[in-house]
């Protein structure tokens, strides 16, 4: 798409990756964008680039506004290759000796990624540079959000925050701004992004939001490096990040399971009916082999209860379920209660192993779990229903 002027002399010059469906293990049914920004003035500034294979399109977007040689400084908010991959060709077009601003860790990372002799200018938090035309850039380090090098760039007088990977979404449509999109759809994509990328850094995000609040930055626009830009009401995404970073849960339960001959699935069904009867408002049964791990994680993020079911396969947990558990472990969800269940043929270790996995993630396990040999009978399904019921009541702080 052609560049768009998002504020006077500020352009979005990035590209749309309409067809990407898997972003290193994250399913992206709506594609994504690699946003980059060009500020025109006494000093022309380019903020971030795009994935390497889209660099020609970025250059053509820049050329629609100015000759790349006229760019005076480049800012790299984040070294991950979807934002820095275009740097070698961009710096060649802009001029190898032009200043490239980045955080201290960014300088280290850029050197390791590209081994180029660039004119790296390390900046630290709150550092400002004047770019003429009455405009100032301020840098805010956001270490480990979500790489050591991450930072924000803030265009002070305009109140525009270029927030790198924070507040983004993997979404590529023709829309540019929040007010051009259905808000619930936009927030869904933003939530999935948070659950799959930023969740482990929630404590840091809570701190950052507080610090940014105390700095009293006016935020007319929040411009992430992926997806839609927030201009109508950036407060919507800031409030959402506030809730997500506190890992606030809903009256919600997720029942994830795999099944071999439908027995564990029957158990899951009975557990679901127990959860519903206990008054849990959102119950989400998910067969792990039919859903993508990144969608499962989006559902888990704001659930109070996580029920995990697996048959025992050769004395182990089913592999497809371990995939989800390994993924979940790294994302560090907090403040949840969990219970395990599963059917088995001969020895049935899965429930014990699941308990260890769930405890290792810091979930509270008020029940020892439920295992049933072969095909559940009616009274055994009643036991499953009871387990769902008790977990549902606990989730709501009600008497069991």
């Amino acid at each position: 798409m052609r560049p768009v002027e998002i504020a006077p002399n500020v352009f979005e010059v990035g590209v749309r990756d309409w067809n990407i469906r898997d972003f290193h293990g994250y399913s992206t049914p709506a594609g994504t964008t690699y946003n980059a920004f060009l500020i025109r003035g006494e000093t022309n500034v380019l903020i971030d680039t795009v994935k390497a294979e889209f660099t020609e399109e970025l250059l053509s977007n820049i050329r629609a506004i100015m000759d790349p040689k006229d760019i005076d400084i480049v800012v790299s908010n984040h070294t991950e290759m979807d934002h820095s991959g275009g740097l070698p060709r961009i710096m060649a077009a802009v001029g190898q000796d032009k200043p490239l601003y980045c955080s201290k860790m960014g300088a280290k990372n850029l050197a390791r990624h590209f081994r180029e002799n660039w004119n790296l200018k390390e900046v630290s938090s709150s550092e400002e540079i004047s770019i003429g035309s009455g405009r100032t850039l301020m840098f805010i380090e956001t270490r480990m959000l979500h790489w050591p090098d991450s930072m924000f760039t803030y265009l002070k007088e305009d109140g525009i925050l270029f927030s790198s990977d924070a507040f983004g979404q993997h979404y590529a449509g023709s829309e540019i701004f929040d007010d051009q999109m259905d808000m619930s759809e936009l927030l869904f994509h933003a939530k999935k992004y948070y659950a799959n990328i930023l969740l482990p850094f929630s404590a840091l995000i809570a701190k950052l939001l507080k610090a940014v609040g105390e700095m009293g930055l006016k935020l007319n626009m929040v411009c992430p490096d992926h997806g839609i830009l927030w201009r109508k009401d950036p407060g919507v995404i800031l409030d959402a990040y506030d809730r997500w970073s506190r890992q606030e849960t809903q009256n919600k339960a997720v029942v994830i399971y795999d099944t071999m001959w439908h027995s564990t699935e029957m158990m899951a069904d009975a557990i679901v009916s127990g959860l519903v009867e206990a008054g849990v408002e959102q119950v989400r049964p998910i067969s792990v082999r039919r859903s993508h791990r990144s969608d499962i994680m989006t559902e888990i993020m704001d659930a109070k209860v996580v029920m995990v079911g697996s048959p025992t396969l050769n004395n182990q947990i089913f592999p497809a379920l371990m995939d989800v558990l390994t993924y979940m472990k790294g994302l560090k969800p907090q403040g949840k209660i969990a219970a395990a269940f599963g059917s088995y043929g001969w020895s049935g270790e899965a429930v014990k192993l699941l308990n260890a996995e769930l405890a290792g993630m810091g979930f509270e396990l008020p029940e020892e779990g439920l295992r049933i040999q072969y095909v559940p009978e009616r009274d055994q399904l009643t036991l499953c229903h009871g387990l769902g019921m008790r977990m549902g009541l606990r989730a709501q702080g009600r008497e069991v």
Binding site: K104, M105, R143, M144, P148, L204
Partner: protein
Amino acid sequence: MKYVCELCGWEYDPAEGDSEGGIAPGTAFADLPDDWTCPVCGAEKDQFSPA
């Protein structure tokens, strides 16, 4: 005693020190200079906790 970085998970092992930061093997965490930072993510010393 080993210390772990709360930001990125890197572990400081006194037996190994931190060659990048010029810290010799055998240096206890408490003896690290105040301006020493995590070699991986740049976190300050007070962001480490006992492993």
